[in-house]
């Protein structure tokens, strides 16, 4: 399958801080999860791929277009939907007016077709009933859905979502998962998240980023398999474990190199993620 996004050697520094260091990846249709601790470079990578900020070095193409030229970037943006980490709004606009405004910015100039499209995406994100309501009067979860509708308008082939489920309650998060799963049908979605369960439920592929570099690139099953035989249960915290925490049953779940005869447990994606992070996992234990 030809990749929607093909990136090689992407690097970006903010002063002396290395935000991205030689990142290479290929994204194909479906939902790809981007996992990493705070400061890993996830948002920077998403902003680069969304053409919101250029990289210092490296190259990438989106649907065959090279965004390092003004024309190429414009072509990429015509096929792109971007939901930033902290979406902003014009609070006096209604949900419909705001998404309509973004639709014009996406060059949808046929008014009646555009209005149909805006209604479609607002229906899709479950905001049909409040589309005439001013954004200032919407809840945080609803605003997040307005931002998702703005990203979805124009039926983009490549959707970049930066932590869309942050700050949502469990019900809203479940609703968002459904939306993202639907959005991933037939298009390429890059989803940045801290929630390993989001990745486990939604993604056909996962990339782990830490310190601006790619630490893992594979399927969720492969990431989980990294923890096979490296998760065990004990009555107390095991000092040899990279990470360990008390479970609701009162026993400790440990991740790392188990002692001989340890009571091994079925690994999860989160275990594989923690082991992939290595040093970061050690911080969890501390």
């Amino acid at each position: 399958m030809s990749p929607t996004v093909s990136a090689s050697g992407l690097s970006l520094h903010y002063g002396a801080t290395r935000a991205l260091d030689d990142v290479s990846l290929r994204l194909t249709p479906g939902v790809t999860g981007l996992l990493g601790p705070n400061g890993a470079g996830k948002t920077t990578l998403l902003r680069v791929l969304a053409t919101a900020v250029p990289a210092d070095r490296g190259a990438f193409t989106v649907l065959g277009h090279d965004p390092s030229t003004a024309r190429g970037r414009q072509e990429v943006r015509r096929r792109l939907g971007y939901l930033p980490q902290t979406p902003g709004f014009h609070p006096d606009f209604t949900a419909f007016e705001f998404v309509d405004y973004v639709a014009i910015l996406k060059e949808l100039t046929d008014r009646s077709a555009r209005h149909r499209e805006v209604r479609r995406v607002l229906d899709e994100v479950g905001l049909a009933d409040v589309r005439g309501k001013r954004i200032r009067k919407l809840s945080g979860g609803m605003r997040q859905r307005v931002a998702l509708a703005a990203a979805l308008v124009g039926d983009p082939a490549f959707l970049v979502l930066d932590e869309p489920t942050v700050g949502l309650d469990p019900e809203q998060r479940m609703r968002f998962r459904e939306l993202i799963a639907t959005a991933g049908e037939g298009r390429t979605v890059l989803l940045s998240t801290h929630q390993t369960e989001d990745v486990a439920m939604l993604c056909h592929r996962v990339v782990v980023l830490a310190g601006g570099t790619v630490r893992f690139d594979g399927t969720p099953a492969e990431l989980t398999a990294r923890a096979a035989g490296r998760v065990w249960s004990s009555d107390g915290r095991d000092p040899g474990a990279l990470a360990g925490w008390r479970t609701g049953l009162g026993t400790f779940r440990n991740v790392g190199d188990p002692p001989p005869g340890a009571d091994l447990l079925e690994p999860t994606l989160e275990d594989g993620y923690l082991l992939t992070l290595d040093g970061a996992a050690a911080e969890v234990t501390a």
């Binding site: 970006l12 015509r78 100039t109």
Partner: protein, 236 residues
């Protein structure tokens, strides 16, 4: 839904498509312009321009020109908020170019600014009124510097609301400018001073530089220019 059918840019000549987008953007962009800041700056400016007349007595050319300079500064402080856009992040990756969006905001405000400035000039008694063309260059320079500052903040940091910081910087610069500009520039002369013409040559140069800075800063960079990349410019 075949959404691409609604996208006209690919099917029509680029210029026509761009015009169509701009026409449709007029109404929503007009709603996003921070009119409150412009109204506040404009109101204060009119008050400053009217002060010599309100104070009674004879108005000197010195008072007239400085009242208009204060008016221009007030309006420029309001204009520093012109590029404030709380939705900047949400619309960071849309195909309509930033330069067009900024130009549209400026175009929407310009007629009102022209009417306002005419009113400010007329508020100064005729006997104390400085040459309108020259003092308009000064006012335009202040406005252009405010816009250049805002455009720079947007380009450099992607700032959503640079207005407050830019207005504060502009105010500080306006206070320090008479002290820090080279004396041979004589920017803040009064009508009748033999250096008046030379000073307005300098004002014109400043205006051109500020407009150039606005134009450069409004364009979104496709490459980052940092010391690091300049030292080793090879890009893979």
């Amino acid at each position: 839904m075949p959404v691409t059918a609604t996208r006209t840019a690919g099917n029509t000549p680029a210029r026509e498509a761009r015009r169509g987008v701009l026409l449709q953007l007029v109404r929503p962009v007009a709603r996003t312009v921070p009119w409150w800041a412009l109204a506040a700056g404009g109101g204060l400016g009119l008050l400053a321009a009217a002060l010599p007349r309100l104070s009674g007595g004879e108005v000197t050319p010195w008072a007239g020109v400085n009242a208009l300079r204060a008016a221009a500064l007030c309006f420029a402080l309001g204009a520093a908020f012109l590029l404030d856009d709380p939705a900047r992040q949400t619309t960071a990756a849309v195909p309509v170019r930033r330069v067009l969006r900024h130009a549209l905001r400026c175009a929407l405000v310009l007629p009102a600014a022209a009417v306002w400035w005419s009113a400010a000039v007329l508020l100064v008694p005729e006997e104390a009124r400085p040459p309108a063309g020259d003092v308009t260059v000064e006012a335009a320079t202040a406005l252009a510097l405010a816009l250049a500052g805002a455009a720079f903040a947007v380009r450099r940091r992607g700032a959503g609301r640079p207005g407050q910081a830019v207005a504060a910087s502009l105010l500080v610069a306006a206070v320090l400018a008479p002290l820090l500009t080279p004396s041979e520039w004589s920017l803040f002369t009064v009508p009748g001073d033999p250096r008046w013409a030379d000073a307005h040559g300098h004002w014109t140069l400043l205006l051109c530089a500020a407009l150039l800075a606005v134009a450069v800063c409004c364009v979104e960079p496709v490459r980052r220019r940092t010391l690091r990349t300049l030292r080793s410019p090879s890009r893979s």
